[in-house]
């Protein structure tokens, strides 16, 4: 979540005060990502330092200052909107590591570990969905932000399902080989079930 660019976007609509930026940020993300005032002012300071935003009077209290976007800021905003986020590096996902570890440990039932996480994720998704259900709370920005969260969690559930299916097939195949496999391996596979 780039606070920096979201603030630039709000400034591109016209000059604004810090407190105003915070309010508008929260509204525009459907209150899904609350911001504290400190974050707003540190970000504004950095934008100013980098020449992407400016304000008239550097001496007055931050809260009294009116910020506006610079030409360089507009270019930066336009560039950022069109730059894909870095999805090329595989994330060192903690959950992936947990499942890999569970798979390696003979005394751990990897399917039970997967189910624990699956249940937790679905519960979290129920919570997010409930936010959408209450339509009085419903506005477009909010719905988009909640959907993004739901799709993200859903992709994790799907990965768990895929891992579950893959491991299951592996175990079935291993069980078929069991009659010819040496006893040491047999014991390890048996413990996995």
């Amino acid at each position: 979540m780039s606070i920096r660019h979201s603030l630039l976007a709000l400034l591109s609509e016209g000059p604004k005060y810090g407190f105003q930026l915070r309010q508008e940020f929260e509204v525009s993300t459907g209150d899904v990502w609350p911001l504290n005032v400190g974050q707003v002012y540190t970000t504004l300071d950095r934008l100013e330092r980098d020449g992407l935003a400016e304000s008239d009077d550097l001496d007055t209290d931050e809260r009294q200052r009116n910020f506006r976007i610079t030409r360089a800021g507009e270019e930066e905003l336009s560039r950022w909107l069109r730059t894909p986020p870095d999805l090329t590096q595989p994330p060192r996902d903690e959950l992936v590591i947990k499942v890999l570890v569970a798979f390696r440990l003979p005394e751990v039932d990897v399917f039970e570990v997967i189910q624990v996480h699956r249940r937790y994720l679905v519960q979290l998704m129920q919570q997010w969905t409930r936010l959408k259900e209450d339509e009085s709370h419903f506005d477009l920005a909010f719905a988009l932000a909640v959907d993004a969260e739901l799709f993200r969690l859903d992709s994790v559930v799907r990965w768990l399902d895929a891992a579950d299916g893959r491991l299951r097939r592996f175990h079935l195949e291993a069980a078929e080989d069991r009659t010819v496999a040496p006893p040491r391996i047999r014991r390890r596979i048996g413990a996995h079930r």
Partner: protein, 241 residues
């Protein structure tokens, strides 16, 4: 009393070497006004559970109580009436009648139950309308897209005064916006007192349910805990952005 209760239900298909334990020792209750989702991998017994809950098939052992009456031991005639009056069923393959238009498909169960034709059609139209399909009412199933057929099947299941709604992958062919519309419609039926049991692979849809039961190899292996208040999510984010 629960609207639907499965007590110690097991289902075995085939015999001897080809025997399949499709369901084992299932205990499940669905209350009026609540939406329960079943999740599980392919072949885990979801459709079997739903056909048994809908009295379309009998369990090998165990009891199926619908509105307090045991379906096991009921006459064919009584079961047919129960299905027509009480149960709305969305099949995995939609099961629309090819010779009837969309609105005729939707209003058929009402007509079979003696509702005058005109009133049945009006109710059928409004159910189609709620799913954004009023403009397709006069089309035959083979003139509809897969997603449209699915919505017709859902309209047919919710129309009338049914009190138990059973849906097998009700959003299989739908995009996420239409999938959400379907879940909202099912949820609205629940708020009106209907008990609903929905089978799905899709966690986004399951998450509309009050309770999610996880099926594996014919057994209910786990279920979600009662949901936490959603407001917590927002305050958590505030302290930890």
């Amino acid at each position: 009393m629960s609207m639907l209760e499965l007590r110690n239900v097991s289902k075995v298909y085939g015999e001897g070497a080809t025997e399949v334990d499709a369901l084992s020792d299932i205990d499940l209750a669905v209350e009026r006004g609540s939406l329960v989702a079943i999740m599980g991998p392919s072949g885990s017994g979801k459709s079997t559970l739903l056909t048994i809950a809908g009295s379309l098939e009998l369990p090998t052992t165990g009891d199926v109580m619908i509105n307090g009456t045991n379906v096991v031991g009921m006459s064919r005639y009584d079961k047919a009436r129960l299905r027509r009056r009480t149960i709305g069923y969305v099949f995995q393959d939609f099961n629309l009648l090819a010779g009837l238009t969309a609105v005729e498909n939707v209003s058929l169960p009402l007509e079979l139950d003696g509702v005058p034709l005109k009133r049945a059609r009006v109710q059928g139209m409004s159910a189609l309308d709620a799913l954004g399909l009023a403009h397709r009412a006069g089309r035959f199933p083979d003139e509809l897209s897969g997603g449209e057929r699915q919505r017709v099947a859902i309209a047919r299941a919710v129309v009338g005064e049914r009190s138990l709604l059973l849906a097998d992958e009700p959003s299989g062919a739908l995009d996420s916006v239409n999938g959400e519309a379907v879940m909202r419609m099912i949820l609205a039926a629940c708020h009106g007192g209907v008990a609903a049991l929905v089978v799905t692979h899709d966690a986004k849809l399951a998450s509309w349910a009050d309770r999610v039961v996880f099926l594996r190899d014919g057994r209910a292996v786990d279920e979600t805990l009662p949901p936490q208040p959603p407001e917590e999510l927002l305050s958590q984010q505030a302290t930890n952005p």
